[in-house]
Chain length 236, copies 2
DNA sequence: CAGTGGTCTAGACCACGGC
DNA sequence: CCGTGGTCTAGACCACTGG
């Protein structure tokens, strides 16, 4: 069941979408929203803070609450407050599973997952396509003590959907590191690029809501097919 | 003057730093913090939410408040809630100013700044070095009606510092787009790379707190010298 | 079931924008 | 000066964790 402030946030988002409001359009004042939704001011503010953190609105003391929509289409949202919807999206994506196996954690994996070298992990390698073209190679390592079972079918769809709905795990936060490099021999075949062409290499560590790291993954993106997007809000 | 919740957030951050607390270390409970700081529970919660959004702590219903430090050193923080400190940082950075001039906005610039083609803008081109090595080429366009004056001296330091402290502008939020490409002829000379080598191309649009766009910039990073970092929090 | 975080309220008071 | 968002309080009640 949704909380009041979540419901209100959603309702306001819908209102923006349904009326096709654009960047800079004004929303009703706090007071108006309080009477409209019949809740306390703080609850409305909490809803608006949520929307602000998602980049949907901005608030201006003394003048009002305004829409901040925008966002160029076709970019992968590397954000954030948006939750962990990265996996899905408006894109036509397909996945080829290259490996699903239990392994002993290497020193590198163990360090990132905060476990011991040799501990059991699930190793998953996937090739992901966007509109039929190779988008990225993803190698994931899951702490087996957290995710005791996986198979090809699960891994072919959204893994995070399985974690959330199948295993009832609640995700907390993530760290992302990335840099630019060059495609190597193995990658060139999978991504259908020449050796030495540009590549975006992304490392992710995902944590449960309990703070425990459970997934360390490395992803190499095809530079021709990938565009990324980030929305930021100042907290001065 | 700092607000109560900001002061408390800062104080907690200092406490974490001074006691060298690590990922997973437990902080005092809400109730304890309330008595310690002699403020209401909501104020403490607001401070903790701020820290949570900055990625400094995480809260767990039923168990407590924990430290979330980490962060590999040497990565450029492409975040976010962290405010707009991108310009400075712990790095030894220098800047070479290649151009500071008033120009008429191109169609592309006008579209991103939401002004008319031909309107006056400041065009600034800078080459930035990290530990003496070329890090990136940055081409910035500032709406002249917002930033009426700039010169080489201002532009050699942090432009955002000037905007904030000199012009008393308050920054609101930003959109960032990026993709991977290849170094072209002109870039190769400045960044001391071969044509065709990998490049990270970043586009930024910065908005004032009023929602008005005032800066559109394009930055090309030297792939050898740049590593980036993002911290995300789930909002489920 | 005790302890801890999370939601929600009602209301006082403050700070800023714009007329 | 009015309207609008922002801070802060005090307290009720809920929901989850862990012994």
């Amino acid at each position: 069941m949704l909380l009041k402030y979540q419901e209100i946030a959603e309702s306001i988002e819908n209102h923006i979408r349904d009326n096709a409001l654009k960047q800079g359009d004004k929303l009703p004042s706090l007071e108006q929203l309080v009477t409209e939704y019949k809740v306390s001011k703080s609850t409305i503010r909490k809803a608006l803070e949520l929307l602000e953190s998602k980049g949907a609105v901005y608030q201006l003391r003394g003048s009002g609450i305004f829409v901040r929509s925008l966002k160029r289409p076709g970019y992968i949202d590397l954000g954030f407050s948006r939750g962990f919807k990265k996996d899905l999206g408006e894109f036509e994506m397909t996945t080829e599973v290259l490996a699903v196996e239990v392994r002993a954690a290497s020193a590198e994996v163990a360090a990132n997952l905060n476990i011991e070298t040799g501990d059991a992990i699930y190793y998953i390698k996937r090739l992901r396509f966007i509109y039929g073209k190779p988008l990225c190679i993803e190698e994931s390592h899951y702490d087996k003590s957290v995710v005791p079972y996986m198979n090809k079918e699960i891994v072919k769809d959204s893994i995070f959907y399985y974690l959330r709905n199948g295993l009832k795990l609640s995700l907390g936060f993530s760290d992302t590191y990335f840099n630019i490099g060059k495609i190597n021999e193995a990658e060139s075949k999978l991504l259908k690029l020449e050796v030495g062409e540009p590549a975006l290499r992304l490392e992710n560590i995902f944590f449960l809501a309990t703070g425990q790291a459970f997934n360390y993954s490395k992803t190499t993106y095809n530079y021709e097919e990938s565009q990324f997007f980030i929305q930021a809000t100042s907290t001065d």
